[in-house]
Assembly symmetry: C2
């Protein structure tokens, strides 16, 4: 074509290449120790179980498992997910559930269904990068609410909502990651969760609760999802099998009010008809055996906890003074705040030269703040690699002090 | 929530439940003979081959096949698709290819990337229903170009483009299904395909060539895809494994100019990160064995050809005079034009009462025409079932004459 540019929609000009996914290409070099991705360890995948179950499914349910499926998702799979949710205190049935192509697809749908150009939505400061990228093509008006050690500061959220209400502005939704936050690693306690529900009831707000890491708890008490307190149905809850089974299956689930799930189903019909049916059947059979799944999750925790600990310990030993770091009770990420004046994005090429990679924190902040922050993933590499990588990173930071 | 309605985007008000997918729910009754869906026969799925290959993949490539994959798609799979395309006369390499979650996802992406509210795009009269539903949330301004026995009437398209050019209006794209059209069953011959390329070059047009059925040829000569004549890169070609392997894997591929593929990759990053990786690896290994795939497609053709023939023969015997029907040389669908005055949508409840189902044709026409038309699928049911269904349908039509 001579000029494709003139054919693009305004929306597509807001589509940004994800810093993480672009980074994953740069760090193909096997000598680089990468803390950049958010990948589970391949040692956590239940290969033999999947092989056994896949064979079974093909023999017992092949005709339906290889055919088009319903847009809502495979019914037995949605029933198993409903059972898991009920165990977490979420009072729903399978008609409240839509299976998506990873929970990322739900984020795109939420943008598509709720955001007109210019509409306002709340996110955390920082928040999940790919949520920002999913929402922005629909509306750039994302307002960040700062986090503290317990996640989103709900009193600041309340202030903002009040201000907007005075101006007659309706926020379309609040997007929160209350459990082992990506990137911040924080855990929101029950009191604050209930406060979000109170606000939602008072202002008839829609709350998007993204919970990919809830099951990966290394210490501390279990805290119920916000959705568990949601008696008046203000919460759309997003779950995924990526961190407890494997990401290659691309399976996510949205749990919400039937009216909103129905809207999402209609959107999905024209987006991709249905989610991969074969993988839904495999995941269904694995998740249906509760003991097996619980045991498998226990194994993943045993794998990741020492990795987290190794990262924290080596940081203490090798990072120059003046940095701050969350000690996440679960999940995959650590959030590091370096002394003011250090720009982690500027520092990155040096780090790559020293064969270590991370994601600089600015990309996670819709207001462009956080130049001195970075996100480190601790799930992917074994302890000795983590120790070596953190040592390298310490040397790179040292030079900037 | 008290009032979710006020939170929806304008776009979401254009999202319509697909008539086909809604119909699929109505016709759960096993006594109903359905010509409504577009499903391949479950007898066409290579169960044993998939079982063998899945086991292999898990053992040989499990670590990558269960992990997140690149947004573009698994490289060996894209290389196999490139090889298949080259055999069809399409001169590209794997960097021209993006793997999508079924080719339906590509249709949604095309809407998202190209259509501002109000933008104009051309489609056939009739055209694929789910393409209409994919484009409409982005822009309702879809202009239909009538089809004749050889598919889209390109001279009428040319006239429209000229008119628009005079008014300074740029059509964003032309969406065509040149090979065994859904729903019309038509085949566009080479001369007309080349004419589309001429127009594309003259007006710097983007052409979307949707080709899910090209390999299912029951008679007549093979005609090259429009993309094979596309020396100046105006064509984005959409393929899928749904009709030659199985739909449950949700695998589609877009083949186009690198610039547009790159734009689609960025869009997909925030839409679902990547397509199901495990299924890409399985399809890759099956497609890599050309002889095996060719043989498998030959088997599918052997299965479907007599079904098509049975449908045509029984129609001749049992339908009252005055109907017209395409004799499709390939694909899955027959398009029936009943005498003026018969409204197939009104007739549908009667048909359901007689335990036979179809899709009324109006839904496929963006201008609301075609009340007397209907689409019949012949791939799903065996011959005797088709004969019985067509007899029932004949009786229903008889009453309307």
């Amino acid at each position: 074509m001579k000029d494709a540019e003139r054919l693009y929609s305004n929306r597509s000009k807001e589509m940004k290449a994800s810093e993480i996914r672009e980074m994953l290409k740069i760090i193909q070099d096997p000598e680089i120790i990468s803390f950049a991705g958010g990948m589970p360890s391949p040692d956590s995948f239940p290969y033999e179980e999947i092989e056994r179950v896949a064979k079974n499914i093909l023999r017992e349910h092949g005709k339906v498992a290889l055919q088009y499926g319903s847009t809502e998702g495979v019914i037995p799979f949605r029933k198993v997910i409903a059972k898991m949710a009920i165990k977490d205190g979420i009072n729903i049935d399978h008609d409240n559930i839509l299976i998506t192509n990873g929970s990322q697809q739900a984020l795109d749908m939420i943008g598509k269904i709720f955001l007109n150009h210019g509409d306002l939505a709340f996110v955390g400061l920082p928040t999940y990068l790919a949520a920002i990228n999913a929402f922005k093509p629909y509306s750039k008006n994302l307002v960040g609410i700062p986090l503290d050690e317990e996640g989103m500061q709900v009193d600041l959220l309340e202030e903002k909502i009040r201000e907007l209400a005075k101006k007659g502005i309706t926020p379309k939704f609040v997007y929160v990651l209350p459990t082992y936050h990506n990137p911040a690693g924080t855990l929101m306690l029950e009191k604050r969760r209930k406060k979000i529900i109170d606000l939602a009831c008072e202002y008839d707000l829609l709350v998007i609760e993204d919970d990919p890491y809830g099951k990966l708890r290394y210490e501390g008490d279990k805290v119920k999802p916000i959705k568990a307190f949601d008696d008046e149905e203000h919460v759309l809850y997003l779950g995924t099998s990526s961190k407890i089974l494997c990401p290659g299956f691309r399976l996510g689930w949205s749990i919400g009010p039937k009216e909103i799930i129905r809207k999402m189903v209609i959107a999905k019909q024209s987006m991709d008809l249905c989610t991969n049916v074969f993988s839904q059947w495999i995941a269904c059979e694995i998740f249906a055996k509760e003991d097996l799944l619980d045991h498998h999750i226990e194994e993943i925790i045993k794998l990741y906890r020492p990795r987290r600990d190794a990262m924290i310990k080596t940081m203490k030993e090798c990072f120059p003074d003046g940095y701050k770091c969350t000690k996440p009770q679960g999940g995959l990420f650590m959030w590091v705040i370096l002394p003011e004046g250090i720009d982690t994005k500027e520092m990155l090429p040096e780090a790559i030269k020293e064969k270590v990679a991370y994601i600089s924190g600015k990309a996670f902040n819709v207001d462009g703040s956080g130049a001195n922050t970075m996100r480190l993933n601790f799930s992917y590499s074994p302890e000795d690699t983590i120790e070596e990588g953190i040592k390298r990173l310490g040397r790179v930071i040292e030079k900037r002090i």
